[in-house]
């Protein structure tokens, strides 16, 4: 079939897809809002259990990865393909750092016997149970998005190498970048809601 080269259309489509992601997380944010309203004290207590250091480091990592992604697009638009490729790889590397961080964080919590359906969790007050259930669900779903985003960007890097994403036709990378920024965006909210909730 013939190839559509409607960049504006591709971008509109991507944005529409991002809305579905926003609304997907939106359902969970709705639950978070309701439960925070219902259990403020328990959320406060449970929030203290999470490592603020891990959270802050991961925030810095993701924001920086977003910067690299934005720089990669700018570089490509200026025709500096090699630089762009390296920046994309840096972005993916930071995604990896984020996931490793997350792994250690989850691991520590699970080591303390706090994970969904665990006896340790079920012994907590209801509000804290909800907090940790939401924590695992939301950061877990976010983590899956980090993995997908990383994979998409790696594929974009591959497309650049084989010359199918070029300074003239880079909508794939641009849309991949939009997706990656969305992942960052979700984390920007998750971070204060779980690690700084007071």
């Amino acid at each position: 079939m013939h190839e559509h080269r409607d960049y504006e259309g591709a971008k509109i489509g991507m944005w529409l897809f991002l809305f579905t992601e926003v609304l997907l997380f939106g359902g969970l944010f709705l639950l978070y809002a309701v439960f925070l309203h219902r259990y403020p004290a328990e959320f406060h207590a449970a929030g203290k259990e999470l490592s603020r250091t891990f959270g802050t480091v991961n925030t810095v990592v993701l924001i920086t990865s977003s910067l690299f992604m934005a720089l990669a697009i700018s570089a490509l638009q200026r025709g500096r393909t090699v630089l762009s490729q390296r920046l994309v790889l840096l972005t993916v590397a930071l995604a990896g750092v984020f996931l490793v961080n997350k792994f250690f964080e989850w691991n520590a919590k699970i080591g303390h016997g706090i994970y969904p359906d665990s006896p340790g969790l079920l012994a907590l007050p209801p509000g804290e149970m909800v907090f940790f259930n939401l924590y695992y669900l939301m950061t877990g779903l976010h983590g899956i998005h980090v993995v997908i985003g990383g994979a998409v960007l790696l594929y974009g890097w591959h497309l650049m190498r084989v010359g199918r994403v070029t300074p003239e036709h880079f909508v794939f990378l641009e849309n991949g970048g939009l997706y990656w920024h969305l992942v960052d965006l979700v984390w920007i909210y998750l971070f204060p809601l779980f690690y700084l909730v007071v």
Binding site: H4, R5, D6, Y7, E8, G9, K11, I12, W15, L16, F19, V22, L23, G26, F29, L30, A33, V34, L36, H37, R38, P40, R52, T56, T59, V60, I63, T64, S66, L67, M69, A70, L71, I73, S74, Q77, R78, E168, H169, F170, V171, G177, L178, H181, L182, D184, L185, I188, Y189, F191, P192, L193, L196, V197, V198
Partner: protein, 96 residues
Amino acid sequence: MTGHNTAHHAVPVRTNLLVWAALMVLTTITVGVTSFDFGFLNVVVALTVATTKAGLVILWFMHLRYEGRVIRLMVFTAFVILAIAIGLTFFDVAYR
């Protein structure tokens, strides 16, 4: 349809770095203020900072500033719908 890609606006490196710096500063602020207790305003402060950061990411990193009216209106609609969904739910949970 348009066959090439001329409408694109390459964001200057400087701008990107500035946005990044602003995001870092806001992250420091939001972590920093947790040592103060504003009561129920804590959540408000945290979310205001988060929303400012989100705005920076959307407008510059996601290029919304450089997009046409159509996409901007669409983004606005999506967030309005999300706000409505959360907001109207509170007519139940806040009064139950």
